[in-house]
């Protein structure tokens, strides 16, 4: 099965030197890789770092909410949307981005933030609601802003797309070759902001890459109950932009497709749309009973990280010692971040009304 499904709806898409060419040999988990070993190891490392962070946050989150789950209690209160299973999207897309490129993420933002190089310690501190956090504890995990790498996210689905247009616009007006990536879920792709943003991006030929993370679910609503077609990449044709769907949560296929899309945008070729068929390994948010879900038993088999690890090991590009080293490095980095967070002061209530206006 070809991991990169070519949309058959790219009739309006510009062709020519800037257009992506992706009709080469099939890639995918079963095909020989076209990436070099250092790139593959980097992808793996990024995915492991993300997962390590998510697992630690999950553990900290639940640690002091017992007995009986109380969402508002504990060191990390509030809703918590973790992205375990979606690491291939973050690793594959962000590998092509520079700190000067913008990324707008969703309510489920950690994997993208980490892959794009958001300061891990300040991000952890924000999640713990501490003064040392990215937003001095004001934002929380759905509202992470790191201007150093032009990262932001929003808890309102699909509404992260329009600001990405503006970042792309600013980059272009300033004469830089910066690119903005806007990520949204497959559920969110049925929100009006999606349509308006794609149309405007083409009209104004903005350097934007739209990425839909299709994890099959929007909370409890399965894809077929939210989306009239099976492949959002085909919606690209409605905006005269190229669209590609990447099946099978394959980090290398994401890497390749995103590379084409980012290069196209950087070179002035305009926007593109990617949809990645990915995986929500855990609940929509922590505490989600997931009683609506029938595939729980088989999830471990499709976890992309062990799968990629096996693949790299089979290719002889990763050995057990490296696996352990990468895991240990990630654990240490995450631990440093969490320690930083825990050492950071709780915001002083007397400052609660600060930062409304500049």
């Amino acid at each position: 099965m070809a991991a990169v499904a070519r949309s058959d709806q790219r009739l309006d898409a510009p062709t020519g030197p800037d257009a992506p060419s992706h009709l080469d040999a099939p890639t995918g988990p079963d095909a020989p890789s076209r990436l070099d070993a250092p790139t593959r190891l980097d992808l793996y490392r990024t995915m492991v770092l993300i997962r390590t962070f998510e697992e630690r946050i999950r553990q900290e989150y639940h640690a002091d909410k017992t007995p009986g789950f109380d969402i508002g209690a504990g060191k990390i209160p509030g809703e918590m949307h973790l992205a375990a299973g979606q690491e291939p999207v973050a690793a594959g897309v962000c590998a092509h981005l520079r700190p000067s490129d913008a990324l707008t993420a969703t309510h489920r933002p950690h994997h993208l933030a980490i892959a794009h190089g958001v300061d891990l310690a300040k991000m952890a501190a924000e999640i713990f609601g501490r003064e040392g956090g990215l937003g001095h504890g004001r934002g929380g995990h759905m509202h992470l802003f790191d201007p150093a790498v032009h990262f932001s996210c929003s808890g309102i689905i699909a509404e992260g797309l329009p600001p990405a247009l503006g970042q792309a616009f600013a980059f272009r007006q300033r004469g830089t070759d910066g690119v903005a990536v806007a990520v949204t879920g497959e559920g969110a792709a049925n929100q009006g902001a999606f349509h308006e943003s794609l149309n405007l991006a083409t009209l104004w030929q903005l350097p934007v890459v739209f990425v839909v993370e299709d994890n099959d679910w929007a909370i409890s609503v399965p894809r077929h109950a939210s989306t009239a077609i099976g492949d959002n990449a085909r919606r690209a044709a409605a905006y005269a932009m190229p669209g590609e769907r990447i099946e099978d949560n394959d980090v290398e296929a994401v890497y390749e497709a995103a590379g084409r899309a980012v290069e196209r945008a950087r070179a002035g070729g305009g926007p593109s749309l990617l949809e990645v068929h990915t995986l929500r390994l855990w609940g929509h948010f922590e505490g989600d009973p997931q009683t609506y879900r029938t595939d729980l038993a088989t999830l471990d088999e499709v976890d992309p990280i062990p799968r990629y690890r096996r693949r790299l090991m089979e290719a002889g590009e990763l050995d057990q010692a490296q696996v352990e080293q990468i895991a240990a490095d990630a654990a240490a980095e995450v631990d440093r971040a969490v320690q930083f967070a825990l050492a950071s002061p709780v915001p002083d209530p007397s400052t609660a009304t600060a930062y409304v206006f500049a």
């Binding site: 969402i71 209160p77 004001r138 309102i156 009006g192 609503v221 505490g287 209530p349 400052t351």
Partner: protein, 348 residues
């Protein structure tokens, strides 16, 4: 809560049970869905999930997927769908998962749902209920913790009800469904009695088993008192009652007025109470300025400022987005501590 208009049911009367607000709300919906085929419920995750805040638990099992419908995340489309269906004689209940999301579909709400009856010169009716979860207190931050009732109440054409007790949650739901106007029904997450959220000890309440209406537009005296009137709604009613109990020990007799409806607003009840006590504290979990707290004060003074023995005080969110960190959020919410000190201040 007042029992009105409902003929006694044929079965022997069942005594009230103690229910959570969520269960009482669902009971009201069920009763009307049973009675009237035109009623249906739609929104995000209202089917198999049963509503993120348990607003629809069990309804799918009972009424099936035609009448309990999960929607895509397309609020503009499905709010408009509700309006169109109502115009054609159905009685939709449509859920906006969090009131904070109103901005993606406000045009359908305030330019269509709310105005069609007027623009048609009364020839078109839009009988629907728009339910939505409001409120903070569990660190859900700036986009998931707002009350916003002031925003909705400012714009004409929608009734706005805000139950605080299980009994009113049921009665106002039934009244809202039967009302021929669009009614916004705002339920506070912290008052729903959810197992997974810390809650006030007052979250359970007696709920009559039969179908009854709580009249829309009538405030309730949640506690009568002589010294000072606290005018409030929703979860803050419970906080105000807690504080009133405490202050009783100090010899301060607090009256707590639960407005229950913001549109129509029971101005008589406000004026009557403040006219008696001479002192007013408004407690509002919405933003302070240009909202409910100002409106309640204006209601008193535009009749007679001289009834006020002391400057009235408001306890509201001080015009700041809701912060995430618990220490900050608790500082901006109308907590019992802030209510208490406001009352003490107005008592002089």
């Amino acid at each position: 809560m007042t029992l009105v208009e409902e003929p006694a049911s044929q079965a022997a009367p069942v005594p009230p049970r103690r229910l959570t607000m969520a269960k009482a709300m669902v009971e009201g919906i069920s009763a009307e869905m049973e009675r009237d085929d035109a009623v249906f419920y739609m929104g995000e995750d209202v089917g198999a999930y049963g509503g993120i805040f348990a607003s629809t638990t069990g309804l799918l099992e009972r009424f099936g997927p035609e009448r309990v419908r999960d929607t895509p995340i397309s609020e503009t489309a499905f709010m408009g769908l509700a309006t169109g269906a109502a115009v054609e004689g159905m009685r939709p209940i449509v859920e906006l998962m969090f009131a904070d999301f109103f901005g993606v579909c406000m045009d359908q709400i305030y330019n269509h749902m709310a105005k069609i009856h007027f623009e048609s010169g009364g020839n078109v009716k839009v009988p629907l209920v728009l339910t939505s979860a409001v409120g903070g207190g569990y660190s859900d931050a700036a986009q998931h913790s707002q009350c916003l009732w002031g925003t909705f109440a400012h714009l004409p054409g929608m009734k706005v009800v805000v139950p605080s007790t299980p009994a009113d949650a049921k009665g106002l739901m039934i009244a809202a469904i039967r009302d021929d106007n669009p009614v916004m029904y705002l339920f506070h997450k912290g008052a729903m009695g959810l197992a997974w959220m810390s809650k006030t000890g007052r979250a359970l309440g007696d709920v009559p088993a039969d179908a009854y209406e709580t009249p829309i537009g009538k405030a309730a005296v949640a506690r009568s008192g002589r010294d000072v009137t606290v005018v409030t709604v929703s979860l803050s009613v419970h906080h105000a009652l807690d504080v009133a109990d405490e202050l009783a020990a100090d010899g301060i007799d607090v009256e707590v007025l639960d407005l229950r409806s913001l549109v129509p607003l029971d101005r008589e009840a406000i004026f009557e109470s403040v006219g008696r006590t001479g002192r007013l504290v408004v407690v509002d979990e919405d933003y302070q300025s240009f909202g409910m707290s100002g409106e309640v004060m204006a209601t008193v003074v535009e009749r007679d400022p001289s009834v006020l023995a002391a400057p009235p005080v408001r306890v509201a969110v001080p015009d700041v987005p809701i912060p995430y960190a618990r220490s900050l959020e608790q500082a901006v919410l109308p907590t019992p501590e802030r209510i208490r000190s406001a009352i003490e201040r107005v008592m002089g």
